[in-house]
Symmetry: C2
Subunit: 265 residues, 2 copies
């Protein structure tokens, strides 16, 4: 018999939609075949896989991969799946995963040449999008610093489109400590801010983007904290050629990260 | 007495939340002080301004600018404002505006060096964000082509963060006609697509981005129609250095438009 919304294991998994429960258990939910596939591709990440009979049949390769890794695979009713999923069309699969963040030290020890630091970014969609863009630009680590959103928030996981499982994710309360550690690891620290005194194009022209770099991004609503931006090696603005007053966070991060990626090659 | 949600002019304005009504009347709603300020900065754009007494007092400069342009300014109750606005915190102001799109011919006659074509982009948030990014990158025109979202959709207007009022906006049903007209106006046409055979970095390296350019962007869900991409001068992919399978639309558009902006300077 498939599990229903009232089956204790479904009830327990559903609690992971709340941050407190994720923090307490060190687990989170990944929904949809793409995320489940990425999660299964990492050793010891998936704890349990729930699927409707139709989805477990349609994605038999994923069900087999889970079983092959000794991950329990449980059939659930459509209602139970809907209760576990946060989207309207969850495509029948939800995995319970272990937190996968690494320490700041471990992330920097692998000597990434490009790092994104999300300082106090509260919007999960924005954070997940920047995580995805950082992965695409070749960043080795994405650091959620200060009062940032939980990277395991369902919307952040979905917006990352799998990239949560690709890069070293770090959670670090103290943004100033992140800057110090990044600098000690040989990274230049550039703060992306609309009020920056340096123009991104100038940094590209004079070769300063070629160096291993940690980019600091702040929240769309509040920007980067003054003292954090002040502590960076440069405060950099994306040039505004037209009449827009600013770029949104995802666009600004894409332009900065890709400028570094291009300069570093 | 301030207008209530039942006052006929409020009822009529509220109908503009529906596309059919916008199409029939050639009018749309812009909410919040930033959008209202941008709208008022254009001649003959604002038809009527509604505001709560507190907002008309707090933004007395906007109320005065409207009155100075012979735009009727009407006090409304908080309930009426909430009915007119589509956001939770509309900051007390909503303007009824005239459609401001121009013909394809007029937009190209001003010889823009950078143009964004949104081909069949249905998501209003995505469309508005790309419009904002195109403005920031210095694009002179943004063309909504094919079965694209209505640029006057409330979410598109808000996501554009004022840029709807800055660039030449064009609505054109036939995307193939847009390509032909752009080419006739001396623009290279580059299709941004994850499957493109050319790498954006290579176009930058060999100087092909220096030419006046129209960038074609498709919807995040469906991409660019095959025949439209095939008709472009080049099909261009943003390089993926990490393990992400793709970029989201806003990020890809930002990287492409800024690559052109940088090359053209």
């Amino acid at each position: 018999m498939p599990f229903t919304p009232r089956t204790p294991r479904v009830v327990a998994a559903r609690r992971l939609q709340r941050r407190r429960e994720r923090d307490a258990t060190g687990r989170f939910l990944a929904e949809g075949p793409q995320a489940v596939r990425e999660a299964l591709s990492r050793p010891r990440t998936v704890v349990e896989l729930f699927g409707t009979p139709a989805a477990l049949d349609g994605y038999a390769d994923l069900a087999a991969a889970a079983a092959g890794a000794d991950v329990p695979v449980s059939e659930v009713t459509d209602d139970a799946l809907a209760a576990l999923a946060e989207t309207v069309a969850p495509q029948g699969l939800v995995a319970v995963c272990r937190h996968l963040d690494v320490s700041l030290e471990a992330a920097l020890a692998s000597r990434p040449r490009l790092v994104a630091v999300l300082a106090g970014i509260r919007d999960p969609g924005n954070a997940g999008t920047v995580l995805r863009t950082a992965d695409a630009a070749g960043a080795g680590a994405v650091i959620f610093a200060g009062e940032a959103v939980d990277p395991y928030n369902g919307k952040c996981v979905r917006s990352s489109a799998g990239s949560l499982f690709h890069v070293d994710v770090v959670r670090e309360r103290d943004p100033a400590g992140v800057l110090a550690a990044a600098r000690a690891a040989g990274l230049a620290v550039f703060a992306a801010t609309g009020h920056g005194e340096e123009n991104l194009d100038d940094l590209a022209d004079d070769g300063r983007l070629r160096t291993p770099t940690a980019w600091l991004f702040g929240s769309e609503a509040h920007g980067l904290p003054e003292e954090l931006a002040g502590d960076a090696d440069a405060r950099v603005r994306v040039p505004l050629h037209g009449r827009a007053e600013s770029l949104n966070l995802a666009a600004a991060a894409a332009v900065c990260l890709y400028a570094s990626a291009r300069a570093q090659r």
